[in-house]
Protein backbone atom coordinates (compact mmCIF):
# COMPACT_ATOMS: atom_id res chain seq x y z
CA UNK A 1 0.00 0.00 0.00
CA UNK A 2 1.19 3.48 -0.85
CA UNK A 3 1.10 5.52 2.35
CA UNK A 4 1.63 9.23 2.86
CA UNK A 5 2.41 10.28 6.43
CA UNK A 6 2.07 14.00 7.13
CA UNK A 7 3.88 15.35 10.19
CA UNK A 8 4.33 18.79 11.75
CA UNK A 9 6.27 19.46 14.93
CA UNK A 10 3.63 18.44 17.46
CA UNK A 11 3.65 15.51 19.91
CA UNK A 12 0.84 13.68 18.14
CA UNK A 13 2.87 13.88 14.91
CA UNK A 14 5.76 12.19 16.67
CA UNK A 15 3.48 9.38 17.86
CA UNK A 16 2.06 9.00 14.35
CA UNK A 17 5.61 8.81 12.97
CA UNK A 18 6.66 6.09 15.41
CA UNK A 19 3.51 4.02 14.84
CA UNK A 20 3.68 4.34 11.07
CA UNK A 21 7.37 3.47 10.79
CA UNK A 22 6.72 0.46 13.03
CA UNK A 23 3.84 -0.65 10.82
CA UNK A 24 5.87 -0.11 7.67
CA UNK A 25 8.64 -2.30 9.09
CA UNK A 26 6.07 -5.05 9.66
CA UNK A 27 4.03 -4.94 6.47
CA UNK A 28 6.38 -3.32 3.97
CA UNK A 29 4.18 -0.42 2.85
CA UNK A 30 5.54 2.07 0.34
CA UNK A 31 5.97 5.01 2.73
CA UNK A 32 6.47 8.70 2.04
CA UNK A 33 6.97 11.03 5.00
CA UNK A 34 5.95 14.62 4.28
CA UNK A 35 7.14 17.24 6.73
CA UNK A 36 4.89 20.29 6.90
CA UNK A 37 5.00 23.58 8.77
CA UNK A 38 2.67 23.37 11.73
CA UNK A 39 2.75 26.74 13.49
CA UNK A 40 1.49 25.15 16.71
CA UNK A 41 4.20 22.47 16.68
CA UNK A 42 7.10 22.65 19.11
CA UNK A 43 9.77 21.16 16.86
CA UNK A 44 11.58 22.69 13.89
CA UNK A 45 11.69 21.10 10.46
CA UNK A 46 15.35 20.19 10.99
CA UNK A 47 14.54 18.44 14.27
CA UNK A 48 11.72 16.55 12.58
CA UNK A 49 13.92 15.50 9.65
CA UNK A 50 16.62 14.29 12.01
CA UNK A 51 14.07 12.26 14.01
CA UNK A 52 12.60 10.73 10.84
CA UNK A 53 16.01 9.68 9.57
CA UNK A 54 16.96 8.27 12.96
CA UNK A 55 13.74 6.20 13.22
CA UNK A 56 13.97 4.90 9.64
CA UNK A 57 17.58 3.82 10.22
CA UNK A 58 16.72 2.22 13.54
CA UNK A 59 13.96 0.11 12.02
CA UNK A 60 15.72 -0.47 8.69
CA UNK A 61 12.81 1.06 6.81
CA UNK A 62 13.18 2.61 3.39
CA UNK A 63 11.01 5.69 2.88
CA UNK A 64 10.93 8.87 0.84
CA UNK A 65 11.17 12.02 2.94
CA UNK A 66 9.84 15.27 1.54
CA UNK A 67 9.37 18.79 2.83
CA UNK A 68 6.07 20.41 1.86
CA UNK A 69 5.63 24.15 1.58
CA UNK A 70 2.43 26.14 1.83
CA UNK A 71 -0.78 25.46 3.71
CA UNK A 72 -0.12 22.06 5.36
CA UNK A 73 -3.63 20.58 4.99
CA UNK A 74 -4.11 21.41 1.34
CA UNK A 75 -0.50 20.54 0.45
CA UNK A 76 -0.99 17.05 1.96
CA UNK A 77 -4.35 16.45 0.28
CA UNK A 78 -2.93 17.63 -3.07
CA UNK A 79 0.06 15.36 -2.84
CA UNK A 80 -2.00 12.34 -1.72
CA UNK A 81 -4.51 12.75 -4.55
CA UNK A 82 -2.10 13.68 -7.35
CA UNK A 83 0.45 10.97 -6.72
CA UNK A 84 -1.91 8.05 -6.24
CA UNK A 85 -1.55 7.38 -2.52
CA UNK A 86 -3.90 4.83 -0.92
CA UNK A 87 -3.83 6.34 2.52
CA UNK A 88 -3.02 9.62 4.23
CA UNK A 89 -1.87 9.23 7.85
CA UNK A 90 -1.82 12.01 10.44
CA UNK A 91 -1.44 12.49 14.17
CA UNK A 92 -4.78 12.00 15.92
CA UNK A 93 -4.79 15.14 18.04
CA UNK A 94 -3.68 16.28 21.45
CA UNK A 95 -5.53 15.95 24.73
CA UNK A 96 -6.55 18.91 26.87
CA UNK A 97 -5.62 19.07 30.59
CA UNK A 98 -9.07 17.53 31.21
CA UNK A 99 -8.27 14.66 28.88
CA UNK A 100 -10.49 15.74 26.00
CA UNK A 101 -9.32 14.82 22.52
CA UNK A 102 -8.73 17.88 20.38
CA UNK A 103 -8.18 17.55 16.66
CA UNK A 104 -5.81 20.07 15.12
CA UNK A 105 -6.61 22.40 12.22
CA UNK A 106 -4.59 20.38 9.74
CA UNK A 107 -6.42 17.13 10.57
CA UNK A 108 -9.77 18.92 10.39
CA UNK A 109 -9.01 20.26 6.93
CA UNK A 110 -7.73 16.91 5.70
CA UNK A 111 -10.73 14.97 7.07
CA UNK A 112 -13.18 17.27 5.33
CA UNK A 113 -11.31 17.60 2.04
CA UNK A 114 -9.37 14.44 1.29
CA UNK A 115 -10.70 11.94 -1.25
CA UNK A 116 -7.94 9.59 -0.11
CA UNK A 117 -8.63 7.45 2.98
CA UNK A 118 -7.43 9.19 6.12
CA UNK A 119 -5.99 7.49 9.20
CA UNK A 120 -5.62 9.34 12.51
CA UNK A 121 -3.13 7.67 14.84
CA UNK A 122 -4.18 7.48 18.49
Amino acid sequence: MKVLLGIGGSDDSMRALETTVERTAEVGDDLTVAIVDNPSGERSREEMEARVTELLDERGVDATVRALDGEPGSALVDLAENEGFDQLVLGGGETSPMGKIQIGNIAEFVLLNSHVTVTLVR
Binding site: P97, M98, Q102
Partner: protein, 184 residues
Protein backbone atom coordinates in the same frame (compact mmCIF):
# COMPACT_ATOMS: atom_id res chain seq x y z
CA UNK B 1 -3.94 27.18 22.91
CA UNK B 2 -2.91 30.02 25.17
CA UNK B 3 -4.48 32.95 23.32
CA UNK B 4 -8.09 32.41 24.39
CA UNK B 5 -10.28 35.45 24.71
CA UNK B 6 -12.23 36.05 27.91
CA UNK B 7 -14.95 38.58 28.49
CA UNK B 8 -13.93 41.68 30.47
CA UNK B 9 -17.16 41.39 32.43
CA UNK B 10 -17.30 39.20 35.52
CA UNK B 11 -20.09 36.58 35.47
CA UNK B 12 -22.88 36.36 38.04
CA UNK B 13 -21.59 35.14 41.42
CA UNK B 14 -23.15 31.74 42.10
CA UNK B 15 -23.32 30.12 45.53
CA UNK B 16 -20.58 27.68 46.42
CA UNK B 17 -21.48 24.18 47.66
CA UNK B 18 -22.73 22.59 49.86
CA UNK B 19 -26.32 23.09 48.76
CA UNK B 20 -29.34 20.93 48.20
CA UNK B 21 -32.49 21.07 46.11
CA UNK B 22 -35.38 18.98 44.84
CA UNK B 23 -35.01 18.02 41.17
CA UNK B 24 -37.84 17.81 38.60
CA UNK B 25 -38.35 14.14 39.50
CA UNK B 26 -38.84 15.00 43.17
CA UNK B 27 -35.47 13.59 44.19
CA UNK B 28 -33.49 15.38 46.88
CA UNK B 29 -30.10 16.18 45.38
CA UNK B 30 -27.16 17.36 47.45
CA UNK B 31 -24.24 19.12 45.84
CA UNK B 32 -20.96 18.96 47.74
CA UNK B 33 -17.29 19.56 47.04
CA UNK B 34 -15.36 16.29 46.69
CA UNK B 35 -13.91 15.43 50.11
CA UNK B 36 -10.92 13.54 48.69
CA UNK B 37 -12.04 10.22 50.19
CA UNK B 38 -11.66 6.83 48.52
CA UNK B 39 -15.40 6.20 49.08
CA UNK B 40 -16.36 9.19 46.95
CA UNK B 41 -13.83 8.22 44.30
CA UNK B 42 -15.30 4.70 44.15
CA UNK B 43 -18.82 6.15 43.81
CA UNK B 44 -17.56 8.23 40.87
CA UNK B 45 -15.96 5.18 39.25
CA UNK B 46 -19.31 3.42 39.54
CA UNK B 47 -21.17 6.34 37.92
CA UNK B 48 -18.71 6.57 35.02
CA UNK B 49 -18.59 2.81 34.56
CA UNK B 50 -22.36 2.90 33.98
CA UNK B 51 -22.17 5.99 31.79
CA UNK B 52 -23.81 5.82 28.34
CA UNK B 53 -20.99 5.95 25.74
CA UNK B 54 -23.19 8.05 23.45
CA UNK B 55 -22.90 10.86 26.00
CA UNK B 56 -19.14 10.86 25.86
CA UNK B 57 -17.50 14.14 24.95
CA UNK B 58 -14.20 14.17 23.02
CA UNK B 59 -13.16 10.84 24.44
CA UNK B 60 -14.19 11.35 28.08
CA UNK B 61 -15.28 9.63 30.19
CA UNK B 62 -13.17 6.76 28.85
CA UNK B 63 -14.97 3.49 28.28
CA UNK B 64 -13.09 1.00 30.44
CA UNK B 65 -12.80 0.83 34.20
CA UNK B 66 -8.98 0.96 34.29
CA UNK B 67 -9.02 3.99 32.00
CA UNK B 68 -11.77 5.62 34.06
CA UNK B 69 -9.57 5.17 37.12
CA UNK B 70 -6.53 6.70 35.40
CA UNK B 71 -8.59 9.62 34.18
CA UNK B 72 -10.18 10.24 37.61
CA UNK B 73 -6.78 9.99 39.29
CA UNK B 74 -5.74 12.91 37.12
CA UNK B 75 -8.78 15.17 37.59
CA UNK B 76 -9.30 14.44 41.31
CA UNK B 77 -5.81 15.75 42.00
CA UNK B 78 -5.66 18.32 44.79
CA UNK B 79 -5.02 21.25 42.46
CA UNK B 80 -8.33 20.52 40.68
CA UNK B 81 -11.78 21.52 41.96
CA UNK B 82 -14.48 18.84 41.96
CA UNK B 83 -18.14 18.98 42.93
CA UNK B 84 -20.49 16.02 43.03
CA UNK B 85 -24.29 15.90 42.92
CA UNK B 86 -25.56 13.12 45.20
CA UNK B 87 -28.86 11.26 45.32
CA UNK B 88 -28.31 9.57 48.68
CA UNK B 89 -25.02 7.69 48.26
CA UNK B 90 -25.35 7.48 44.48
CA UNK B 91 -23.57 9.96 42.19
CA UNK B 92 -26.03 11.79 39.93
CA UNK B 93 -23.47 14.09 38.38
CA UNK B 94 -19.93 15.40 38.61
CA UNK B 95 -18.31 18.65 37.51
CA UNK B 96 -14.63 19.51 37.55
CA UNK B 97 -12.15 22.34 37.00
CA UNK B 98 -8.66 21.33 35.94
CA UNK B 99 -5.80 23.89 35.95
CA UNK B 100 -4.40 24.97 32.60
CA UNK B 101 -1.87 27.79 32.94
CA UNK B 102 -3.63 30.86 34.30
CA UNK B 103 -7.11 29.43 33.60
CA UNK B 104 -9.09 26.25 34.35
CA UNK B 105 -10.74 23.80 31.97
CA UNK B 106 -14.29 22.77 32.93
CA UNK B 107 -16.22 19.58 32.29
CA UNK B 108 -19.54 18.33 33.63
CA UNK B 109 -21.26 14.96 33.39
CA UNK B 110 -24.74 14.02 34.53
CA UNK B 111 -25.64 10.34 34.58
CA UNK B 112 -28.38 9.36 32.11
CA UNK B 113 -30.82 8.51 34.90
CA UNK B 114 -30.56 12.06 36.19
CA UNK B 115 -30.60 14.08 32.97
CA UNK B 116 -33.32 16.63 32.10
CA UNK B 117 -34.11 17.14 35.78
CA UNK B 118 -32.37 20.49 36.28
CA UNK B 119 -29.33 18.94 37.97
CA UNK B 120 -26.75 20.07 35.40
CA UNK B 121 -27.61 23.75 35.85
CA UNK B 122 -27.40 23.54 39.65
CA UNK B 123 -24.20 21.51 39.50
CA UNK B 124 -22.34 23.83 37.13
CA UNK B 125 -23.44 26.91 39.09
CA UNK B 126 -22.15 25.28 42.28
CA UNK B 127 -18.82 24.52 40.58
CA UNK B 128 -18.49 28.10 39.31
CA UNK B 129 -19.39 29.37 42.81
CA UNK B 130 -16.71 27.08 44.25
CA UNK B 131 -14.25 28.36 41.65
CA UNK B 132 -15.06 31.98 42.48
CA UNK B 133 -14.54 31.55 46.25
CA UNK B 134 -11.33 29.63 45.50
CA UNK B 135 -9.95 32.63 43.62
CA UNK B 136 -10.20 31.23 40.10
CA UNK B 137 -10.27 33.99 37.52
CA UNK B 138 -10.87 32.35 34.16
CA UNK B 139 -12.57 29.15 32.99
CA UNK B 140 -12.81 27.62 29.53
CA UNK B 141 -14.34 24.53 27.98
CA UNK B 142 -14.94 22.89 24.65
CA UNK B 143 -18.22 21.37 23.53
CA UNK B 144 -19.27 19.59 20.37
CA UNK B 145 -21.37 22.05 18.39
CA UNK B 146 -24.19 19.54 17.84
CA UNK B 147 -24.66 19.17 21.59
CA UNK B 148 -27.28 21.91 21.87
CA UNK B 149 -28.38 21.00 25.38
CA UNK B 150 -24.85 21.48 26.66
CA UNK B 151 -24.21 24.67 24.67
CA UNK B 152 -27.51 26.06 26.02
CA UNK B 153 -26.54 25.19 29.58
CA UNK B 154 -23.16 26.90 29.28
CA UNK B 155 -24.75 30.02 27.78
CA UNK B 156 -27.36 30.11 30.55
CA UNK B 157 -24.70 30.29 33.25
CA UNK B 158 -22.71 32.97 31.41
CA UNK B 159 -20.23 31.29 29.06
CA UNK B 160 -19.57 33.02 25.75
CA UNK B 161 -18.26 31.42 22.56
CA UNK B 162 -14.60 32.38 22.13
CA UNK B 163 -13.68 30.18 19.16
CA UNK B 164 -16.14 28.74 16.66
CA UNK B 165 -13.63 27.74 13.98
CA UNK B 166 -13.02 24.13 15.01
CA UNK B 167 -15.18 21.00 15.13
CA UNK B 168 -15.87 21.79 18.74
CA UNK B 169 -16.87 25.18 20.12
CA UNK B 170 -14.64 26.82 22.68
CA UNK B 171 -16.43 28.86 25.36
CA UNK B 172 -15.04 31.03 28.15
CA UNK B 173 -16.21 32.81 31.29
CA UNK B 174 -14.57 35.25 33.71
CA UNK B 175 -15.17 34.66 37.43
CA UNK B 176 -13.04 37.51 38.80
CA UNK B 177 -11.40 40.77 37.76
CA UNK B 178 -7.82 40.36 36.56
CA UNK B 179 -5.21 41.19 39.24
CA UNK B 180 -3.87 44.76 39.10
CA UNK B 181 -0.39 43.82 37.95
CA UNK B 182 -1.86 42.56 34.69
CA UNK B 183 -2.73 46.17 34.02
CA UNK B 184 -6.27 45.19 33.08
Amino acid sequence: MSDRTFSDAVADPYDAPPLSFTDKEDRTIEVRAHDGSDEEQEALVEMYDAFDPSDRAQGIPPGREDRIRDWLENILDEDCLNVIAWDGDEVAGHATLVPDGDAYELAIFVHQTYQRAGIGTRLIKALLGYGRVSGIEKVWLTVERWNRAAVGLYQTVGFETSDAESFELEMTIRLAEPPDEEGG
